[in-house]
């Protein structure tokens, strides 16, 4: 359980990182290392060069201006969980960041790393899809912006090009309103067996499921039935269209349960 040989570069700016990434083939960005290092130790990933982003200055800042949140990719899950602005204006994001792994993992793992890694059972990619966030991708070729909903392409697969770095995340604080979250994991800190972000408006509902199929699964519906049985039946029938990677019956059942729980949480909070 030791990685194959690699060389290591620590960069101080995004520009340096972008340059290094375009210069070396087989290079990988290293953020918190909470996903990449285990893969390297199992030799499932064998980059020849690691470009460490942890030395980039102010790569973990959070700002809120005119309803627009800008979060830089280097923020750790724990900082996201504790950040006063996030707690006040996007509480669901703070809450779900606190469900990522254990404290030690949250202390190192970063938002950018989680979003780029695209584990189907991860909270944060789904949160971004639910928030309809925009990701800024930077390379020597310049910057481009892509929506979270377009970014995810499949299992551990994203729109990120080999030379691109996810540098900033934007979303509207107001879009965090009325989104509520629930998940089920075998043990606290485990990846979710199933989780959901549910946003309930007067006339529309949005659900973003994670942990059930190969990537965050987002859908928009009309208003939900107020009657419990009818609502649960709807969740069950929606969940039956999900394609779980394993334990199909069980995960679909849980998907319906977490959707209902997220919904109920919302009703309690909004009441």
């Amino acid at each position: 359980m030791k990685p194959a040989p690699f060389s290591y570069i620590r960069v101080a700016t995004v520009e340096e990182a972008a340059n290094a990434l375009s210069e070396y083939t087989d290079a990988k960005l290293l953020a918190g290392g909470q996903s990449l290092i285990p893969l390297m130790n199992y030799r499932l990933s064998k980059p020849t060069v690691l470009i460490d982003l942890c030395g980039i200055e102010a790569f973990a800042s959070v700002s809120l201006k005119d309803d627009v949140f800008t979060i830089r990719a280097g923020i750790t899950h724990q900082s996201l969980h504790e950040h006063p602005l996030v707690r006040a204006y996007a509480p669901v994001l703070a809450e779900c960041a606190g469900e990522v792994g254990h404290w030690a993992i949250r202390n190192r793992g970063t938002l950018g790393g989680s979003l780029a890694h695209a584990d189907p059972a991860s909270e944060l990619p789904a949160a971004m899809v639910a928030l309809d966030a925009r990701f800024v991708l930077t390379s020597v070729r310049g910057e481009r912006t892509v929506t979270a909903r377009d970014f995810y392409l499949g299992l551990f697969t994203t729109d990120l090009a080999e030379d691109e770095i996810l540098t900033r995340i934007h979303f509207f604080a107001s879009s965090a309103n009325r989104i509520h979250f629930a998940e089920i994991a075998r043990r606290p800190g485990d990846f979710a067996l199933s989780g959901a972000f549910v946003r309930v408006e007067e006339s529309a509902t949005e659900i973003t499921w994670f942990g059930v199929s190969d990537m965050p699964y987002h859908l928009t519906l009309d208003a939900l039935p107020v009657e419990e049985k009818a609502r649960q039946a709807l969740f069950t029938s929606l969940a039956s269209t999900l394609e779980p990677l394993d334990q199909t019956v069980y995960r679909r059942k849980l998907a319906a349960v977490v959707a209902e729980r997220a919904y109920l949480k919302g009703r309690r909070v909004q009441a």
Partner: protein, 786 residues
């Protein structure tokens, strides 16, 4: 120790330490990270080994290509079976092809079996080379299912030997008549799935030739230093005095470190042959793949009982999957089944028993010892039977236990398998646990909650724990040894052949000796784990160190006390019987001012030897061995788990946990409770989380701790523990208690889930029971009711 407690104890009658909540001498170094484990051993120029392991569960090895590996920078030597033709075990087993060679030769029989050893300057370089070794296999059909294996299907694991590697039958006389005559019967198949011990510190070995003496020194993380020395010496063809085994701090062992593994032979052989210091430490994947597995058992049970819940007869066909080879020196499949068959009736007066045992080979990792070995399985079956009888008759599970429990007046009691139980607190522990739980009230609450869609379950497990057995996974050494030496300045050094891995022997053994000698605990140093300084002993396993090792400590302590009394009586010119030892002094009873300190006595014994009485040997050293008269002593107790099952998700939450434990006279309640907490944690893992899964090709699919789920701090319940003390007839009255908590707890957790799901007519019959199974069972029940 708090001042108040210290004061109390100072003024109490002797003993001062035995039975007291003494904090562990070991804790300071363990808690500050100062302990030295195997991987902390540094030998200048030490090489590391990495193994190329079989990727196939069953295949012939056609060719091994080593060129690219040889050329890898940092590689020193590469060994295959040709260079390292070693094995543990008997020549007969080798002839039958059932002994696992140090490195696989010609055929591989499980995924993870070592084939090639790469010795390199670093583990990194060794793993680089491992990647470059190419092995050509010709696949064979894997043998994976016990039922088929029994019929030698689809083929034999070892060509020359039938797959059925062990068979036995037993029946009480009159069984058939009693069974047929009973008014009620039920059948069930119980199954436990593969698990392993997963110690925090993985296993491993380092070996080097001592340049001074030319002897081979082995550093091992192991439970039986002398046992390993003996096995290694035989396998390497050297004398025991040419081999020194040093066991540094051990970070958990749980039975899996009672075994001698093929990798150990490779490391020691390489050190001996190439005169290189080398080490190998298992990583977590190797741990899950190749540490002995455990608990791969099936019990097909038939039960005959009366309308009042009295159980008359149990028939059980026990099966266990031994894996590809008989683990050395203890075959888990045989151990788990044979011993389970002897305690299947648990704490109950079930008069009739018929057992058939079949153990079979498969293309899986060998089955060996894991804490509790047979006990957790036997308890799961036995307590599962009791709850099924209760459910069949609509009786309270407690009532069925009361009806069947061995009454106090029947002790010593011989169970239906011929096992002799010594006196215990069987009924008392059950009643006490019920009282602690407020059982009747909780049952009433359970009813109300059910009506609100909340499913609470109460799981009872009354257990027997055979301890201090003459034979166990710690070998067949039915005694333990202790030496005590009082140094020339009066401090005390004791040494044991035990192999602790966190049980706190340095504290408990010192407590016993301190009380015998009337000295302060801090003046005693307890040594273990170095075959050059420790007296020969069996080591730690089978819950034997407290009762047998503790007995040796008492005997050695008494022998030393006697010596001190003889010496003091001579110097004080008093009768020996009048000399008392307390507070580090020997004094004449009633005249404490007439005294010699131990320090002064030691000075006489070593330096001022002309003052010694005639015939008194110079120095103060004793060695004592203790072999209990009984070949086993039974601890007992009752665990009760209270859980809530979420009927929407199948998730289980533990709400409460009560333990009443009787391990005879307590040496240190604090340590006993620590053992219980750990065992209950592991029991929770057994019941709900841990499973080594194989796919249909014999690949283990749970090779990381993300897939093999261990209980962590968030799962383990706070537990309430009470002690009862029924002394054994052995030295000190101690009984073992290292395994009872893991013997009892899986059954308690399983029964709690069964109880919670009574409205859905579900009973747990296979462990671990998982949320998806629970949800599926609830669905089935709802479908059938609809």
């Amino acid at each position: 120790m708090s001042d108040a407690l210290h004061h109390l104890q100072k003024n109490a009658l002797k003993p001062k330490y035995t039975g007291a909540r003494v904090t562990r001498k070991e804790d300071a170094r363990l808690l500050t990270g100062a302990s030295r484990y195997l991987d902390d051993i540094e030998i200048p120029g030490m090489y590391e080994i990495a193994f190329v392991r079989s990727q196939r569960s069953a295949a012939r090895i056609c060719a091994i290509h080593l060129d690219a590996a040889q050329a890898t920078p940092g590689v020193k030597r590469i060994l295959t079976a040709k260079e390292c033709p070693c094995f543990f075990g008997s020549a007969e087993d080798v002839a039958n092809g059932v002994v696992q060679p140090a490195l696989a030769r010609d055929v591989v029989r499980y995924v993870g079996e070592p084939i090639v050893a790469i010795i390199a300057e670093t583990r990194y370089a060794a793993e680089d080379a491992v990647e470059r070794v190419q092995i050509d296999y010709e696949p064979l059909q894997p043998v994976l299912a016990m039922r088929e294996s029994l019929l030698d299907q689809p083929r034999r694991v070892h060509e020359k030997t039938p797959n059925r590697m062990f068979h036995s039958e037993y029946q009480t006389s009159g069984f058939e008549d009693a069974f047929q005559a009973a008014p009620h019967h039920l059948v069930e198949v119980f199954q436990t799935h593969r698990q392993t011990g997963v110690p925090l510190e993985t296993r491993g070995l380092a070996a080097t030739i001592d340049p001074g003496s030319g002897r081979l020194t082995i550093y091992a993380t192991h439970q039986s230093p002398h046992g390993l020395r003996g096995d290694m010496a035989v396998a390497l063809g050297i004398e025991e005095n040419e081999l020194r085994v040093i066991v540094p701090e051990v970070g958990g062992a749980f039975g899996i470190k009672a075994h001698a593994y093929p990798e150990y032979l490779v490391v020691a052989y390489a050190a001996l042959k190439y005169k290189l210091p080398v080490k190998w430490i298992s990583d977590r994947t190797e741990c899950l793949l190749t540490d002995v597995h455990a608990r791969d058992d099936i019990h097909e049970v038939e039960v005959a009982f009366e309308g009042n819940g009295r159980i008359l007869a149990i028939r059980d066909h026990l099966r266990a999957d031994a894996g590809a080879y008989s683990a050395f020196p203890f075959c888990g499949a045989i151990g788990e089944t044979v011993l389970a068959s002897r305690v299947l009736t648990g704490p109950y007066t079930i008069p009739h028993l018929a057992t058939t045992i079949d153990c079979t080979y498969s293309n899986k990792t060998p089955l060996g010892a894991y804490r509790g070995v047979w006990g957790p399985i036997a308890s799961f079956v036995q307590e599962g039977i009791v709850d099924r009888v209760a459910r069949a008759l609509h009786l309270d599970p407690v009532e069925v236990r009361r009806v069947n429990m061995i009454p106090d007046e029947l002790f010593p009691y011989t169970n239906a398998a011929g096992q002799a139980y010594d006196r215990g607190s069987y009924r008392a522990s059950l009643e006490k646990a019920l009282e602690m739980l407020n059982y009747d009230e909780l049952r009433a609450q359970q009813k109300t909650l059910r009506d609100h869609g909340k499913y609470i379950g109460i799981g009872i497990s009354a257990f027997v724990e055979p301890t201090a057995m003459a034979q166990s996974e710690a070998g067949s050494v039915p005694y333990e040894s202790a030496t005590i030496r009082i140094e020339p300045n009066g401090s005390v050094t004791a040494a044991f052949g035990l192999g602790p891995s966190g049980q706190g022997h340095e504290t408990t053994m010192a407590q016993l000796i301190a009380d015998e000698l009337g000295v302060d605990l801090k003046d005693i140093v307890v040594l273990h784990g170095d075959t050059d300084s420790a007296p020969f002993g069996g080591g730690t396993g089978g819950s034997r160190s407290g009762p047998i090792g503790g007995g040796a400590a008492l005997k050695a302590g008494r022998a030393m006390k006697e010596k001190l009394q003889t010496l003091a009586s001579h110097l004080l010119e008093a009768a020996k019987e009048d000399v008392q030892l307390e507070d580090g002094k020997a004094f004449v009873a009633g005249v404490p001012t007439r005294n010699f300190s131990i320090r002064e006595l030691a000075q006489v014994a070593y330096t001022d030897v002309l003052r010694l009485p005639e015939d008194f040997p110079v120095g103060l050293e004793v060695v004592a061995r203790y072999q209990p008269k009984r070949p086993v002593t039974f601890s007992n107790g009752t665990h009760i788990a209270v859980v809530e099952v979420d009927a929407q998700t199948g998730m289980i939450e533990v709400l409460d946990y009560v333990v009443v434990n009787d391990c005879g006279r307590l040496i240190n309640p604090l340590i006993v409770e620590g053992q219980i907490q750990g065992g209950v944690a592991q029991g929770l893992g057994s019941a709900y989380l841990e499973e080594l899964r194989y796919d249909d090709q014999g690949q283990v699919t749970t090779t990381t701790l993300a897939d093999y789920l261990l209980p962590v701090a968030t799962e383990v319940p706070r537990m309430r523990i009470a002690h009862l003390e029924t002394p054994s007839s052995g030295e000190g009255g101690f009984k073992g208690m290292g395994e009872g908590s893991l013997i009892a707890s899986p059954a308690a957790f399983a029964n709690a889930v069964s109880d919670a799901l009574e409205p859905f007519a579900f009973m747990v019959s296979a462990l671990p029971v998982t949320p998806d199974q629970i949800l599926a069972a609830i669905d089935r029940s709802r479908d059938s009711m609809a």
